[in-house]
């Protein structure tokens, strides 16, 4: 769940199997990944090293992912920096959230703060790029990330605006909050699931955090030939935007797989949309093309 978002958008540009010969192009589920869910370890003292704490908490995270994101955390809010593609994609993701969640919670889409009174959690909040707009839209937002540095940056940035200073940022994991029995009206994990070691466990946690009649929103990158080709040609060989190995193409989920593991976790996917990037205008838009980046909204089954 770590700084997920960031990978988010870039992932299809960037993601490349570190070692092509090892890439299991059509491997089924990411649970086969080397890093698996660690067993519950409670009682980590508050004074202990934060990073340590995060990574030793019960979690479906992959440790090498944490180190990767920690290294570039400082540039979260530089809209021309490494996260630029994410900043550009953000309005499109938010447009999807606004429209589906207004419908789900029967809120007035013409209100400037439609989510007033609703508790949202942004899992893998990174520097807070998604949490802040959600707070401006009225939601009571909790942002969590396993990387302490991200949380620090997110908190400092949010404190600069009275409407976002109410966001609760925590360096923790979804699993940990499940243990604490926290519930949220909407659980949002954008561009995170491809970085976790066990997607099925992760979805169970998301489901457990979702309140009765709440909504769950997950976005990720498809494991399609197109996402693979784009990533190799554009990101690795031509642009060299990211260190090799930022993404493991083989751990991406297809829309069918995501729907299935969410279903098993008790979340019924209601709507799905694709994000497409227009290189001429530099803008992202929503589309029904889910072959690369896609987002799914589901409700918790009774």
């Amino acid at each position: 769940m770590a700084s997920s978002m960031f990978l988010a958008q870039r992932r299809w540009f960037l993601s490349l199997p570190r070692n092509l010969s090892n890439a299991r192009f059509f491997s089924a589920l990411p649970s086969e990944h080397p890093v698996s869910v660690s067993g519950p370890q409670n009682n980590v003292g508050p004074e202990s090293n934060k990073f340590e704490k995060a990574s030793s908490a019960p979690s479906s995270l992959k440790e090498p992912e944490l180190a990767k994101f920690s290294a570039i955390a400082d540039t979260w809010w530089d809209s021309e920096g490494p996260f630029k593609p994410l900043h550009k994609m953000n309005p499109t993701r938010l447009a999807f959230l606004r429209s589906t969640l207004c419908r789900h919670f029967r809120k007035d889409p013409l209100s400037a703060r439609p989510f007033e009174g609703l508790r949202f959690i942004d899992v893998g909040c990174g520097g807070g790029i998604l949490s802040e707009p959600l707070a401006r839209m009225g939601a009571t937002v909790t942002g969590i990330d396993a990387i302490e540095k991200n949380i620090k940056i997110a908190r400092l940035h949010a404190n600069l605006d009275p409407t976002t200073s109410t966001i609760e940022y925590c360096c923790t994991t979804a699993e940990k909050l499940v243990e604490e029995q926290r519930k949220f009206d909407a659980v949002i994990a954008l561009e995170v699931i491809e970085h976790v070691a066990d997607a099925a466990e992760f979805c169970k946690s998301l489901s457990a955090l979702t309140a009765h009649e709440g909504a769950t929103v997950v976005s990720t990158i498809n494991r399609s030939m197109r996402s693979y080709a784009t990533a190799i040609v554009a990101a690795e060989y031509l642009l060299q935007w990211l260190p090799k190995g930022t993404h493991q193409w083989s751990s991406f989920l297809t829309p069918e797989e995501l729907t299935m593991i969410l279903k098993r976790a008790g979340v019924d996917v209601k709507e799905m949309a694709g994000f497409v990037y227009n290189p001429l205008t530099g803008r992202w838009s929503l589309s029904d093309d889910i072959s690369v980046n896609f987002i799914a909204y589901g409700t918790k089954e009774k």
Binding site: W77, S79, A112, E132, M137
Partner: protein, 510 residues
């Protein structure tokens, strides 16, 4: 900031509308040195701090375009709650009704396109315009002094009711003001001028003291700080420069401009006929176009472009001589009336006449005689100026601050209203997705939307200006051919009309 300037620029409206002209009015030379700097010392001044207020948007310049932005924000569900400050020293903004119906027409008028009319209807301001003097026109005749050609445009060629409407600037301004006053938009008018503006870069967030004072927000680049001449200061997430062709906001924000002067002046004034006029007339004379626009009752507005030397002469001659010169220029002066036979047009241009347009049979008419001068004569220099950027962090330019065009065709203020409409829509889209409205990535969407449209219109008008400012045989024939083309080919005529009415974004022949 200086409304005077804004308004005056428009003066022309005439067909023109535009701006370019600057009145020599009390534009007070701002010390350049003082301004740009604003800076951190001021930022921390504790005394002022207590009085300073924070706004979502500060609109610098309460002229037509600035107030149109405020009305447009007030009319959108997602922006009507925004806290808006309007900074303008025009005392009229403090009054409720500052014009009277029986006032003589002001020579500063604008030609409003159908697109602008529907924008005014959307923001709820058109009802106020209708209570005052305004004049729709459904015909327009354009011809030149060589007698080789003329073109007549009729609204019905484009299946429209009207080609446009001529409205005095003070009517537009007071209508927008009445509208903004009756809306619930939280707003405050500061009767002063902008002295300085400062926007600091986003600070690296490491040493934030997590206090939320405005000073802290300003220091970290989350608010712009404005200082006014009357000593007030305020903070805003977004500063909109609607302060006219000599925009102080543009200067303080460091936007560069590109442009040139035409070494031409325009004389404007109001005249009276003994009959009502319902047609817009424009004749190209050797030194520039002369336009006669209906403004309601028996009045018309004149915009006459000429060399600076001629303009000072025409400004100082007696009323009688001036009226005689106008009547002559609209009739036999400088050259004969055009008649189709002169060029043998039926042969020469017959290949062009695929579809005969409906008004092609309208024959050439002589405009109604001018019998009386109803205002003083004013002269303004013409220029073209375009800001290289319309937006940067926490700053956006609209209207003349972003682009000053040749008054030909009356597009100036219409482009400005288009800016106001687009900017408020972009702000609304930003609020829908929880964006900070001063974010440069959001504001650049406004720029990307408006710049191509404005540049295109400016290029077309500049091209017209150049094509008509030369008296050279072959060019005259080409012009005549262009006129004939425009006059006789329906699709072309239709596209010219719809482009000029603000309904088509792409150039003429698309």
């Amino acid at each position: 900031m200086n409304r005077i300037i804004c308004c005056n620029n428009r003066i022309f409206a005439t067909k023109a509308g535009s701006n370019v002209y600057r009145l020599r009015i009390p534009w007070r030379p701002l010390s350049n040195d003082a301004a740009p700097l604003l800076s951190s010392q001021n930022a921390g001044n504790p005394e002022k701090e207590s009085e300073a207020k924070q706004y979502d948007i500060a609109i610098v310049g309460g002229g037509m375009v600035g107030l149109a932005l405020a009305c447009s924000l007030a009319s959108r569900p997602l922006t009507r709650h925004l806290n808006v400050a309007i900074i303008d020293s025009n005392p009229a903004l403090g009054r409720k009704h500052f014009i009277k119906k029986e006032d003589l027409p002001d020579p500063r008028v604008s030609t409003i396109t159908p697109a602008t009319i529907s924008f005014f209807k959307d923001i709820g301001a058109w009802q106020f315009v209708e209570q005052h003097r305004h004049a729709y026109f459904d015909k327009m005749q354009v011809w030149d002094y060589t007698g080789l050609s003329y073109a007549k445009y009729n609204a019905r060629d484009a299946d429209k009711e009207v080609l446009g409407c001529v409205v005095e600037n003070k009517v537009l301004l007071s209508s927008l003001l009445s509208r903004v006053q009756e809306t619930d938009l939280p707003k405050k008018i500061y009767p002063s001028r902008l002295n300085s503006m400062s926007i600091l870069p986003n600070s690296s967030s490491s040493e934030v003291d997590s206090t939320l004072s405005m000073t802290a927000l300003f220091t970290h680049g989350r608010l712009a700080k404005l200082e006014l001449e009357d000593g007030n200061s305020l903070y805003a997430k977004l500063v909109v420069g609607a302060d006219g062709g000599k925009s102080r906001v543009r200067e303080l924000a460091g936007f560069r401009t590109t442009g040139w002067n035409y070494s031409q002046n325009a004389i404007i004034c109001t005249v009276e006929h003994d009959v009502e006029n319902h047609c817009a007339w424009q004749r190209f004379l050797p030194s520039g176009p002369l336009a006669l626009l209906p403004i309601g009752d028996k009045f018309s507005n004149i915009v006459w472009t000429m060399s600076p030397k001629e303009s000072s002469e025409f400004k100082s001659i007696t009323e009688d001589n001036f009226l005689k010169a106008v009547n002559r220029a609209l009739d036999y002066g400088y050259g004969p009336h055009p008649t189709p036979s002169i060029l043998g047009s039926s042969d020469l241009f017959s290949w062009l006449k695929g579809g005969i347009s409906k008004s092609a049979n309208d024959c050439f008419e002589i405009p109604p005689k001018v019998i009386k001068l109803a205002s003083e004569r004013m002269a303004f220099p013409l220029s073209l100026r375009h800001a290289n950027d319309y937006a940067s962090k926490r700053v956006a330019l609209i209207g003349d601050a972003a682009h000053t065009v040749h008054p030909l065709a009356g597009q100036g203020v219409n482009l400005g209203f288009g800016d106001a409409s687009t900017l408020s829509s972009v702000i609304s889209e930003g609020i829908a997705v929880g964006a900070d409205i001063g974010e440069v990535s959001l504001l650049k969407k406004y720029e990307a939307d408006r710049k191509p449209a404005n540049v295109m219109m400016m290029a077309v008008l500049d091209g017209f200006q150049k094509a008509y400012s030369v008296d050279f045989g072959p060019l005259n024939i080409l012009r005549a051919a262009a006129f004939h083309g425009a006059h006789h080919i329906s699709p072309l005529k239709k596209s010219i009309i719809s482009y000029a009415s603000g309904e088509t974004r792409l150039p003429l022949f698309a």
